[in-house]
């Protein structure tokens, strides 16, 4: 399918100019973008030429920037008079996150609902408020991508402030969605040109979507045996939850130092045996099957019931990093079959 | 993010290390007592934990101590053949040697982790050993504390 349009007027920025623009942004904001070491991850940029643009999906999702693996909640100091509690000082400087994919942008909007709402988690919300998102569309895809299942358009900048599309030699500025986005564009005015280009807008081919509507809401119909059998190869490690852009379960731990200490919150994974174990020794999810079931229910049943959105965005990270190659798509397909039975 | 914690004795301007000592109840703990009773000069930079046998010290204890920022960990036990439980210290010897090598490999100087034999009657040896070992740690300087 060639939907290459000829001679369409578009705002574009060349690759070289993009670096200059980002350099300029870096002068005003803290810039975060994908960097490659053994894996590609979002990191703070010291030098613009370190930014990795030939990535598909980062190893860790962008949630690390808003809900880090380990985050200080507060510190306390003890003296003869008592205890004083001091909230962790979060970032004040505004940040720009460059290179977020549409699936991850959706994931952030899901996390917004979790950490926002009636009771606001200020640690997350403040970081979120202070960050401008520059998205990049997916003109290519991995064979693990299945975002279209959840109605995500790999070429739409929903949830981002600015949305670019990589056209090889240059980037098209497809969307500028917010005031904050516009002010960033203003910074790059000298680099952004309006030109007639042979406009190419092709989404990467994504796996055939799964009929998710038939699954959510019907999860109860799945027999118990199914979970025990499906979870058999699972090692109960934390990879799938840690690399998941929407997983948000956390643990709270104190670290005592001399005359004070710090309380941290850390990521936690529900596949861990002691995730739900109480002090009394009672464990409501003692078997691997029950924990596995809980993970799927959280994403495809509890999320829709509570926030009216599925807690999965089809980024495919859990598929690519699973040490035993368990495939969430395959499991969903089997759940669907099981429901229909 | 490596932080170097400055622990300097105000009086002597000398680095005062944080050291943990595991001492066997039947020998070196008594030796420490003896050293004290005999009013021998012993450096004061260490904290001592009494264990029932040097083999009681699980390697995790040592690794944990290092993770909590200790500059040195010493185990003191009975001389070979004199273990109260007949052979505990032989096991310790193996474990310690292997752990020393592993620590070194992971970037923690093996000199920071030491094993010595001190019997109950060797108060002077205790004082001398501690002095020498702590001097060794002073020479190494503070450990890079992981944050």
């Amino acid at each position: 399918m060639d939907n290459r349009e000829k001679g369409v007027e578009r705002k574009i920025i060349t690759r070289d100019d993009l670096s200059k623009w980002l350099e300029k942004i870096k002068g005003h904001f803290d810039l975060y973008a994908p960097v490659r070491s053994t894996v590609v991850n979002f990191g703070k940029i010291e030098r613009v030429d370190k930014i990795c643009l030939d990535f598909m999906n980062t190893f860790l999702p962008p949630k690390v920037l808003f809900f880090p693996q380990t985050e200080e909640l507060f510190s306390y100091a003890r003296d003869s008079e008592g205890i004083e509690v001091k909230r962790a000082e979060d970032l004040i400087k505004e940040r720009v996150l460059f290179g977020i994919r549409p699936c991850d942008a959706r994931a952030l909007s899901i996390l917004d609902m979790v950490f926002g709402g009636e009771i606001q988690d200020s640690h997350y919300i403040e970081k979120r408020r202070n960050t401008v998102l520059i998205g990049i569309g997916c003109t290519e895809s991995l064979n693990t991508c299945f975002c279209s299942t959840f109605g995500i358009d790999p070429l739409s900048g929903e949830g981002t402030d600015i949305f670019l599309i990589d056209n090889g030699g240059y980037f098209t500025i497809k969307e500028v969605n917010t005031q904050r986005g516009r002010s960033l564009i203003d910074l790059g005015n000298t680099f952004i040109k309006t030109e007639k280009v042979d406009h190419r807008e092709e989404a990467g081919s994504v796996t055939v979507p799964i009929n998710i509507a038939s699954i959510t809401g019907n999860m109860e119909k799945v027999q118990e045996d199914f979970w025990n059998n499906t979870s058999d190869p699972c090692l109960s490690c934390g990879i799938c939850t840690y690399v998941c852009p929407t997983c948000h379960c956390f643990d709270v731990e104190d670290e005592e130092k001399k005359n004070g200490g710090v309380r941290f919150r850390t990521w936690d994974f529900c596949m861990s045996k002691d995730f739900a174990r109480m002090a009394s020794g009672e464990n409501p999810r003692i078997s691997k099957g029950e924990r596995y079931r809980h993970r799927y229910f959280h994403k495809f049943d509890y999320f829709p019931k509570k926030y009216a959105v599925v807690g999965c965005v089809g980024c495919g990270r859990c598929i690519s990093y699973c040490p035993v190659n368990m495939d969430i798509r395959k499991v969903l397909e089997r759940i669907r079959e099981n429901i229909q039975k | 993010m490596e932080k170097k914690e400055q622990r300097v004795d105000r009086g002597t301007e000398q680095f005062s290390p944080k050291i943990l000592v595991f001492a066997c109840n039947w020998c070196s703990y008594a030796a420490a007592d003896l050293a004290g009773v005999s009013r021998l000069e012993v450096p004061s930079d260490f904290r001592i934990i009494r264990v029932m046998c040097s083999a009681r010290v699980r390697p995790e204890f040592v690794i944990y101590a290092f993770s909590r920022g200790f500059d040195g960990v010493f185990i003191l036990g009975c001389h070979p053949g004199e273990c109260h439980y007949s052979e505990g210290n032989y096991y310790t010897r193996r474990r310690v040697l292997l752990l020393k090598e592993t620590l070194q490999f992971m970037g923690i100087e093996s000199e920071r982790f030491q094993l010595r034999w001190v019997s109950a009657s060797e108060g002077a040896k205790f004082a001398g050993t501690m002095k020498r070992l702590i001097e060794g740690i002073r020479d190494l300087g503070p450990r890079n504390i992981d944050t």
Binding site: L73, F74, Y76, R78, G82, I83, E84, V85, R87, A88, E89, D90, V114, F115, I119, Q120, D121, S122, H123, E126, M219, E220, E224, H248, C249, F250, D251, V252, E253, D254, E255, E256, G261, R263, R265, D268, C270, F275, A276, R277, M278, A279, S280, E282, P284, R285, E290, H294, F297, H298, D301, Y302, K305, K306 | -
Partner: protein, 278 residues
């Protein structure tokens, strides 16, 4: 920026009463008088108690919100935080945030007869409720407490049974699983006690709190007696961290114990498709 929901307020332990060998009731008050006077809660709610350096755990409030000068927390030493709490003496500083969770349906049961069934430390949240009922005696009908513990040494709030029983329209039935020499009361499980008394389900609500297995058995017995699911009310325990519905640790089905609970009617629990109903 001191607006984090995770910040505890400093409170001081004012008094400690030993209930059993591993359970004590702590009377605590916030250091900040304004927080203390504005701290309002209802029976059934809980607070997150911080022992600094050890961590945080959810504890149900056992005092009744008629006096705002202090809070009472009945705690069994069963983990890192609760052990550390027991090590603290009068004057010790702890952190408290809350109150969290829903409360017992106080309005719904107005004018009704009530039975309270509890085992062991499960009396703690029910004590708050019982005292609330007794304080507002005119609004409620006959109140009966069925309480059981392993031995007479494991009974909590021993000093208060007579006080409760002295009220008109109130009955207190105590039983122990295993008799010791000092005990001359009833011996047997609380469920047997309940079966014998067989309070009629007419115009009556049942509140159950205790170990999970006891809740399950009691709920079954009550159902056999003819109690409707919606009239059997229980309060649950789950591992909890945040208390405000973010950490997802306390979920039973799509419900979160910290927000949608800890008080649930059996009907609500039966609707949840999770471990509990299985």
């Amino acid at each position: 920026m001191n607006n984090s929901i995770y910040l505890p307020h400093i409170a001081t332990i004012k008094n400690v009463v030993e209930e059993t060998f591993d359970t004590s009731t702590f009377t605590v008050a916030f250091d900040n008088k304004n927080i203390q006077s504005s701290f309002s809660y209802l029976p059934g709610q809980f607070v997150e108690v911080t022992v600094f350096g050890k961590g945080e755990c959810p504890i149900s409030i056992t005092s009744t919100p008629v006096k705002n000068e202090y809070l009472e927390l009945c705690v069994r030493s069963s983990g890192k935080v609760t052990d550390a709490l027991h090590d603290l003496d009068v004057g010790g500083k702890i952190g408290i945030r809350g109150p969290y969770g829903n409360s017992f349906p106080l309005e719904e049961v107005r004018g009704k007869d009530i039975i309270l069934i509890s085992g062991g430390i499960g009396l703690a949240p029910l004590r708050s409720l019982l005292n609330y009922f007794l304080y507002n005696e005119d609004r409620y009908g006959k109140i009966e407490l069925f309480y059981g513990a392993k031995t007479s040494q494991d009974l909590c709030f021993r000093r208060e049974y007579d006080l409760w029983g002295a009220h008109e329209n109130t009955a207190v039935h105590i039983t122990v699983d295993k008799a010791t020499e000092q005990w001359n009361g009833r011996v047997g499980f609380v469920t047997e006690l309940l079966k014998e008394a067989a309070p009629s389900p007419r115009n009556r609500f049942a509140f159950v709190c205790g170990p999970p297995i006891m809740i399950k058995i009691t709920a079954k017995i009550l159902a056999e007696m003819g109690y409707e699911d919606s009239r059997i009310i229980t309060t649950l325990e789950r591992k909890m961290k945040c208390g405000v519905g973010k950490c997802m640790r306390c979920s039973i089905g799509e419900k979160l114990v910290c927000q949608d609970g800890p008080v649930f009617s059996l009907r609500e629990l039966n609707e949840i498709t999770d471990e509990f109903s299985r």
